[in-house]
């Protein structure tokens, strides 16, 4: 499996560390309702198919990436930066010039 890092280009999966489901949102610090935090920390949709997930490029630029990957085929269709560079996406093979 290779991940096209928007910062570093296509790299082997061994350079990355998995960060899990990228769609869960941490409740604001001010939220003191335990259930909201329990949902964030423990509960996952765990889909069979399209999955938006976090990867940390620990062996490269150390940015966190949002990767759209199929959990059944492992096919990666989109990689973008998370956080402050959100929206910066990698050019994927087959996506044209």
């Amino acid at each position: 499996m290779r991940i096209h890092c928007p910062c570093c280009g296509p790299r082997g999966v061994a350079e990355f560390s998995y960060g899990g489901d990228g769609t869960v949102r941490r409740p604001d610090l001010s939220v003191t309702d335990t259930d909201a935090h329990v949902a964030y920390v423990f509960e996952r949709e765990n889909p069979r198919g399209r999955h938006v997930e976090l990867w940390h490029h620990i062996g490269g630029c150390r940015h966190w990436l949002l990767v759209t990957r199929d959990t059944l085929t492992h096919e990666i269709t989109r990689v973008e930066m998370a956080g402050r560079f959100a929206g910066e996406a990698a050019r994927m093979p087959g996506a044209g010039a």
């Binding site: 290779r2 610090l29 309702d33 966190w64 085929t73």
Partner: protein
């Protein structure tokens, strides 16, 4: 009589270079270019191995990776290599091979008694018996079963060879250098692409050597050499002896090159094998096909061989596999093989074909050579146990499948068999494409591609040579297109073929011949799975292809079912009244062919398994007698053991020095993170349980971080160096995890925070000077800087210089004594350390290691990883006061959950041994006299300061139990120690010693 060397011929052979070798100790001779199998056959050797279960005598069956019978123990000593296929072993001078799975000898194998008992040993028999009275019966029987099973013998000696790994990037990877692969590689090269052409054989060409043709007027060897030169000239890389064994996600393929397996041993510094990770934009699969045997009574007799193997041994190695050969085939390939062999000087007695007629041109050619053709006939049985002596040819009705009358019972010493061809779809299947059934081939071909590959030639179901060449060219062009090279290359054209024989290799759908005379009909030769076993599996309900495989072990031997898979599916389909595609095939998994484990490990083995991290003071520690210990990847001094001292003596001396005078310890391994930005204070405020936003510049503070679930994650200190800058220290173990944790929050959770974090762990060396004399020593060492109480109060930070190097000093204490952590540039570490030691000499400074550090912290009740074990809370370790109530932080809400406020939770306590006995770490606490575990001991020491054996422990309701007497039980060694529960801070509980 049996196999012999033909007077001439052998495209792979160098008859000017004879090579001596030994098989089962017997001296033999072959030539350079031989395989072990061809050399054995040329020497007249028929019996080469014994089968797995029944220990049946077996001979060479194939000429390539499909070999199921001729497995040998190659080499000896530490290089002994069991289960090596003789057909893939290139002969070298001095080769030593031994037959395997026999006792006492290959010819006389006592274990062949299994064959007599074979009526009992039906598929899955072991599930039905050996139960007796329970486990004891099975354990008794299992010993014998284990000894009987297995194939070759491995050695316990460490592998002396080395393996290397490399990555390769290319536009097009062509797997297989047969006719299709060569054409594909030529076309892709001509299109200007970077090509890698890999083939598992020593020489490229594949079946070109067997087809008896000329290409553009050239003999195959010449044409192949020309093609290879052309590919290399175009920048392509040719990898012979390289098995592409795995197709992984994203067009990453794994391959193993046998660099030195064709030598007696690797040259100095030469790897034995090399692992290639190949990243290809496009892959051409030209992996060919494997011939299928036919299933008939006695089809495993030594001397029965695949037709293609009989031909390959003659064309490549100049070997006649028998003096009197019969061919039995369900396709025109049989007759063609007979004709070619006859032309090479092999004596062919007859061709047996179940069809009513064969291609008339072939029939005429057979007649012209005086070869008898028996159509509408089959081989129904064989004679001879350790060597084929003859066969029974019977009439056969192709419509009903029934056997007819006896035709003849000729004597023969070799029988060449062809049941059609099975495309090698393995890599495509690994890449996620389920194989689809091709009725004409009576086999499976690759399904639709999901990764970027194109299949060409026999592996895609094209069996004729012209078709393979054309398909290869087309695949090369497809690959070029896929890589953006749309210009069609006109330089490459198909070679003109001459000398081709007529006929087609599409098989008549005959897989098995009805049983005669009770002899077994083998489907899987290596695992001794018979047609009857397939029927039994069906009868007992193990009907899906996976159940069939698992119940009978069909296809699970070292040959991975390369020759048995399709026949088994066909037999099961017939038994169930289904078609083969309805039964389906199993999913192929890596590896295509068994690969050496060492090659996959590469150099990351032995001492190179993991990198060694050393502090800048490492050599100093070692020179001063330190016993070093591993701490994660780091090496740290455990204690500096003096002459005549034990480890215990040493740490007591070191810890005593710290309490009474002064000590110094290397803390360079602590994680260090530079946290910068306008929101740095706010950021740390959110991560730590305590408050950091208002920490004044020039002050440090101890802090604990929680995980999101409210459990303690890590502890350390944060030093405010400037309004926008902190230096954060972490534990040695969690340095990487804390950095990733911070990066996660900054980038994913709170991107609005203006903070940047950088690891500076190996930017700064660190050392702690601790003890009543610490200030004096430090001040003496400082070239500039002031560590007086006024300039550097408790938790204060000052800067200075030692040995000319700038240092940062924070007054922090882990030992409970007056102590300072001194950080300097990594390269300056040794000079700073030595200067401190020198300055401390008048005060009796003593370096101390992990053991003394542990003792000092246990005396103070300070926590480390043993207490922060991923299950404990701040309150558990008595740091509940550090949980800020003024602000939320990561994990704060989750600590409100019921389990966190459960009064039964084990909490940190101290233990004092009552009778002077040492307490063991890992003990559990029970009431005196025993009972259930109330908690466990995390850390123990003999405390020189207290003169007592003490420990830290977690104890349920521990805070209410101070003063109570319990037992620290260690049932693993039948030990119990009476202990008194105490406060975990044994020494200087009010902290006056560090506030001086």
């Amino acid at each position: 009589m049996s196999g012999y060397r033909l007077p001439q011929g052998g495209s792979h052979l160098d008859r000017s270079r004879p090579l001596a070798f030994r098989f089962d100790g017997e001296p033999m001779q072959g030539f350079a270019g031989d395989t072990l199998a061809s050399a054995l056959l040329a020497s007249g050797r028929v019996l080469v191995g014994r089968s797995f279960k029944y220990h049946r005598p077996r001979g060479v069956m194939g000429a390539g990776p499909e070999e199921a019978n001729a497995l040998v123990e190659l080499r000896d000593g530490a290089r002994q290599e069991p289960n090596t296929r003789a057909t893939m072993t290139e002969l070298y001078g001095g080769l030593e091979a031994a037959s395997q799975n026999r006792w006492p000898s290959l010819s006389f194998d006592m274990m062949a008694v299994n064959d007599l008992l074979s009526p009992l040993f039906s598929a899955g028999f072991y599930y039905k018996t050996f139960m007796g009275t329970g486990q004891a019966t099975w354990h008794f029987c299992e010993r014998f079963i284990r000894k009987a099973a297995g194939l070759g013998r491995a050695t316990h000696l460490a592998d002396p060879d080395r393996y290397e790994k490399t990555n390769a990037f290319c536009d097009v990877l062509v797997v297989g250098a047969g006719p299709a692969g060569l054409m594909a590689a030529r076309a892709a090269t001509a299109a200007g692409l970077r090509v890698i052409l890999a083939d598992e054989n020593a020489r490229a060409g594949g079946r070109l050597f067997e087809d008896g043709v000329h290409l553009d007027g050239l003999a195959p060897a010449e044409w192949i050499d020309g093609a290879l030169r052309e590919i290399e000239a175009g920048g392509g890389r040719i990898l012979p002896r390289t098995s592409v064994y795995g197709y992984f996600d994203g067009n990453v393929l794994g391959a193993v090159e046998r660099v030195a397996d064709h030598k007696r041993k690797p040259a100095p510094f030469e790897p034995r094998q090399r692992h290639w990770t190949i990243h290809a934009r496009h892959v051409v699969l030209a992996t060919g096909a494997i011939e299928r045997p036919l299933v008939f009574s006695g089809n495993d007799a030594p001397g029965v061989m695949l037709a293609s193997a009989g031909l390959a041994h003659a064309t490549r190695y100049g070997v006649a596999v028998g003096a009197s050969v019969v061919v039995f085939a369900n396709n025109d390939g049989g007759a063609r093989t007979a004709i070619q062999l006859a032309d090479l000087g092999v004596s062919i007695k007859a061709v047996v074909d179940p069809r009513r007629e064969i291609d008339p041109a072939l029939a005429a050619a057979l007649g012209a050579r005086g070869i008898r053709l028996e159509t509408g006939a089959v081989v129904a049985a064989t004679r001879g146990r350790k060597a084929l002596a003859g066969i029974d040819i019977r009439g056969f009705d192709p419509i009903s499948g029934a056997l007819g009358a006896n035709v003849m019972q000729p004597g023969c010493d070799a029988l060449l068999v062809s049941g059609g061809w099975t495309p090698s779809v393995h890599l495509a299947s690994q890449a996620g494409s389920a194989p689809v059934f091709d009725a004409a081939l009576q086999s499976f071909v690759p399904g639709a591609a999901r990764e970027a590959w194109t299949a060409a030639g026999a592996c895609a179901g094209t069996l004729d040579l012209a078709g393979c060449l054309a398909a290869g060219l087309e695949a090369g062009r497809t690959a070029a297109n896929a890589c953006g090279k749309t210009a069609e290359n006109r330089d490459i054209s198909l070679p003109a073929l001459s000398g081709q024989l007529a006929g087609a290799e599409l098989p008549f759908p005959l897989f098995d011949v009805p049983a005669t005379g009770g002899a077994k009909r083998f489907v899987d030769f290596q695992h001794d799975v018979t047609a009857d076993d397939v029927d039994l599996a069906n009868r007992e309900g193990f009907r899906s292809v996976e159940h069939l495989k698992r119940y009978t072990t069909l296809g699970m031997a070292a040959d991975q079912g390369k020759t048995s898979n399709v026949n088994a599916i066909a037999l099961m389909a017939r038994a169930r009244g289904l078609t083969a595609p309805q039964v389906g095939t199993t999913r192929f998994r890596m590896p295509w062919t068994a690969v050496t484990i060492g090659a996959l490990a590469g150099r990351e083995t032995g001492h190179h398994f993991a990198p060694v991290r050393r502090t800048p003071l490492h050599d100093w520690h070692v020179a001063k007698g330190a016993e070093m210990m591993t701490a994660g990847l780091w090496m740290r001094p455990r204690a500096y053991i003096g002459p005549g001292e034990t480890l215990r003596d040493a740490y007591i001396r070191e810890a005593t020095a710290v309490r009474q005078r002064v000590g110094i310890v290397d803390v360079s391994t602590l994680g260090k993170i530079d946290v910068q930005g306008p929101d740095a204070g706010e950021f740390l405020n959110r991560l730590y349980t305590g408050g950091f936003a208002k920490l004044p510049v020039g002050k440090a503070r101890y802090g604990v971080m929680l995980r999101e679930d409210g459990i303690m994650f890590d502890d350390g200190t944060a030093w405010r160096l400037a309004p926008n800058r902190f230096l954060v220290t972490t534990t040695t173990a969690n340095a990487g995890a804390v950095l990733a944790h911070m990066e996660h929050y900054l980038e994913v959770v709170w991107p609005e925070l203006r903070v940047h974090v950088t690891s500076v762990t190996d930017r700064f060396a660190g050392m702690a000077v601790a003890g009543p004399q610490a200030r004096k020593v430090l001040q003496a060492a400082l070239g500039e800087g002031d560590v007086s109480t006024e300039a550097c109060p408790h938790m204060g930070i000052v800067r200075g210089r030692i040995a000319g190097a700038p240092v940062m000093i924070a007054r922090l204490s882990f030992s409970g004594e007056l102590a300072y952590e001194v950080y300097c540039d990594w390269p300056a570490g040794l000079a700073v350390w030595e200067t401190l030691i020198e300055a401390g000499k008048p005060n009796g400074i003593m370096p101390y290691g992990m053991e003394a550090l542990g003792t000092l912290r246990i005396e103070k009740g300070h926590i480390t990883g043993a207490e922060m074990d991923g299950r404990t809370t701040l309150a558990d370790v008595g740091l509940g006061g550090m949980a800020s109530r003024k602000k939320p932080y990561v994990g704060s809400t989750m600590t409100q959950r019921p389990a966190f406020v459960d009064p039964e939770r084990p909490v940190l306590v101290g233990l004092v041994s009552r009778d002077g006995q040492a307490i063991r770490a890992g003990s559990h606490l029970t009431l005196p006299g025993g009972g259930a575990s109330l908690g466990h001991v995390t850390a123990v020491t003999w405390s020189p300061a207290l003169g007592a054996n003490i420990a830290l422990a977690f104890l349920s309701r521990g805070r209410d139990r101070h003063g109570e007497v319990l037992e620290a039980a260690f049932p693993l060694k039948d030990e119990r120690v009476a202990v008194t529960v105490a406060d975990p801070c044994f020494y200087d509980p009010d902290g006056s010693r560090m506030h001086v």
